[in-house]
């Protein structure tokens, strides 16, 4: 959901990028009465329609049209060609820097958007973005493989393949927490992870190289949890919760988890910039944050929202009481600036 862009739209993007012919113009759009929201789609889109779009339209009279295909490539193609169709786009937080570097983002108007309710956290808010929701990468273990109390309780345990045999799963993208937990397993404290020592992380990861089953997509990670192909590993909390709901024999462990967030930006040259600001203002209210946390398993970015969330719901959300003091916040600025280098090193490690 909040990660892994779809690769299938890739070819279309190249065409749109290169020729600018595939993008119809929307000059005739009624500027103030409609915004276009580019989303990851799926069940997430349904959740935000109910939690955000409909109430926002009721309050402001501005209609929200959701559209899929919110990849970085398409984003750049649109802004560079001057044919921007989107007003608000949900992206991964590294885009706060990647998009800024390529001059693709509109500065947010914090006279309109009230950020005072948003939790403290490094880089959660930038001049170009506000955090959308919180989510985490968490450790899980399979209860068929590890009975009773004999299960991995730390990343160091996950690295102990003799005591806890079986495949470990990690997402294959460089910025999916794998390098971070490899460092934790190697003894680096959670508050000393960044700037990431990629070489040391890969050296640590090499110790279990043959025991890893890589997931290229979140659907794969969920499958590995369900059918037991992996007995432990690092997975997005939403996918782990979905697997539990579907009867997977797994337990989620929030200790040494990595918290991150998804973010919302306005493309430079968005047709309805003012409407987009209004929308972001609405989405940053504790009420809207509580509504989305009830509709989908992501945590609110405004702590006040917990006043409106029942306890049994709160304790499965990122940032909820069960995760208190047990997580580290991903340094997405570091990732935004170092993704390419880290990816090259990871690929070289894979090929070796």
């Amino acid at each position: 959901m909040a990660t892994f862009n779809s690769r299938r739209r890739f070819c279309g993007q190249i065409l749109a990028a290169a020729a600018g012919v595939a993008a119809p113009t929307f000059s005739a759009r009624a500027q103030s009465k409609k915004i276009v929201y580019a989303t990851w789609g799926g069940t997430w889109e349904k959740a935000i329609r109910g939690a955000w779009f409909d109430p926002f339209t009721k309050k402001t009279g501005i209609e929200v049209v959701a559209i899929g295909g919110n990849t970085y490539g398409k984003f750049k193609a649109m802004v560079d060609s001057g044919r921007v169709e989107w007003d608000v786009v949900e992206v991964n937080p590294d885009f706060q820097w990647i998009g800024q570097k390529d001059n693709l983002l509109e500065k947010l108007d914090f006279q309109v958007i009230d950020t005072s309710k948003i939790m403290d956290g490094q880089h959660l808010i930038t001049p170009y973005s506000v955090p959308q929701v919180l989510w985490s990468r968490v450790r899980f273990y399979n209860t068929n493989a590890f009975k009773g109390d004999n299960h991995p309780k730390s990343w160091a345990d996950v690295w102990d393949v003799k005591r806890f045999p079986g495949k470990r799963t990690f997402a294959s993208k460089a910025n999916s927490g794998t390098l971070e937990v490899a460092l934790i397993a190697d003894g680096v404290p959670m508050d000393k992870l960044y700037p990431l020592d990629v070489d040391r992380a890969l050296k640590s990861l090499a110790k279990i190289k043959g025991d890893i089953i890589w997931g290229d997509t979140n659907a794969q990670l969920e499958q590995f949890m369900k059918d037991g192909q992996a007995v432990t590993g690092l997975v997005p909390d939403g996918r782990a919760l979905a697997a539990v709901d579907n009867g997977a024999p797994i337990v989620i462990d929030y200790s040494q988890s990595m918290m991150t967030w998804s973010t919302m930006v306005i493309p430079r040259g968005a047709p309805n910039r003012d409407g987009a600001m209004q929308f972001l203002k609405y989405a940053m209210t504790p009420e809207a944050q509580a509504a989305v946390a009830l509709a989908y398993t992501y945590g609110p970015v405004t702590p006040d929202a917990y006043k409106m969330i029942p306890m049994d719901r709160a304790k499965i959300l990122s940032g909820g009481p069960q995760q208190n003091g047990k997580y580290f916040l991903a340094d997405e600025k570091w990732w935004g600036e170092n993704l390419a280098t880290a990816n090259d090193k990871l690929n070289a490690w894979r090929m070796a």
Binding site: A19, K209, N343, M351
Partner: protein
């Protein structure tokens, strides 16, 4: 063979080709030119190409891309050729059934098929569980998350591209030529090697070229079914387009892949005369 020109003026032919030419110009050659132009952007005119040479990982991935594509092509040829012969020799009904078997997966979404393979081939999947239950194997076979998995997935997808050109050529071969060879004393093997195979070679080559060039651009299959070392260049290009927005470098990687592919094509043309291949299929 009646040439089209015998009943149609060359100007009319040019006019008919115009929409296709315009289509290619706008949707292929223009984007391609832009892509190549991107590849020369950056800190220096050839900075992106220097970057490719500076880090061995890129050439390793290029090499891996070619190795996987060649292996896919060879396996497709070994499976596809006998199957094509079977299709040509079958009764109309048998032919329809065989074609359906080949085409139905062809119409299924690539991602769906890849997940299907993942579920069937994994250590806890149907194939391994069946073989274990039958006592054929003692431990699960490593059929997926490695190069084997990539090849299984790619061969299944690429087989129709191999089979159809071969069928097109085979179905136009006069069966009496083989009978004549046999009646003149050639063994079944000799009549196949010296009479039948050379006549079908254009179809085989056309199929091989299609399979090879399309395989070079794969990225979903190696990502889902492959192991750590099964990185293909398209995955790297996609990463640079969609994750880091380094379109200059993506353009350079694409150009290198394109040049290498055209190189293979030219070699094939020199050795096998591709003109006769396409002619043999179109005839």
């Amino acid at each position: 063979m009646a040439t089209p020109a015998s009943w149609m003026s060359s100007r009319a032919i040019a006019l008919l080709a115009l929409p296709a030419m315009l289509f290619l110009a706008v949707l292929f050659f223009y984007p391609l030119g832009t892509l190549i132009a991107y590849s020369f952007s950056g800190s220096g005119p050839a900075a992106n190409y220097q970057k490719i040479l500076a880090n061995p990982v890129y050439l390793q991935i290029l090499q891996r891309t070619f190795t996987i594509s060649v292996a896919t092509t060879l396996i497709c040829a070994l499976i596809g050729y006998p199957l094509a012969r079977q299709i040509v020799a079958a009764s109309p009904r048998g032919r329809a059934i065989l074609l359906a078997i080949i085409l139905v997966p062809f119409w299924t979404n690539l991602l769906v098929r890849s997940y299907g393979w993942m579920i069937i081939l994994n250590p806890k999947g149907a194939i391994n569980q069946a073989l274990l239950a039958l006592g054929v194997i003692d431990a699960p076979l490593a059929l997926v998350y490695n190069t084997t998995g990539v090849l299984i997935g790619m061969v299944q997808i690429m087989l129709p591209y191999m089979i159809f050109p071969i069928v097109a050529v085979m179905s136009r071969i006069d069966a009496r030529l083989v009978i004549a060879a046999r009646s003149l004393g050639a063994s079944p093997l000799a009549s196949f090697i010296f009479v039948y195979l050379p006549m079908t070679l254009p179809g085989l080559m056309a199929g091989a070229l299609l399979v090879f060039t399309i395989s070079l651009g794969f990225f979903v299959i190696p990502a889902i079914l492959g192991g750590p070392r099964d990185l293909m260049l398209a995955q790297l290009i996609e990463f640079n387009i969609n994750n880091t927005l380094n379109w200059g470098f993506a353009g350079a990687l694409s150009t290198v892949l394109l040049v290498a592919t055209v190189g293979v094509y030219l070699v094939a043309q020199r050795w096998f005369g591709l003109g006769s291949i396409w002619g043999a299929i179109a005839r």
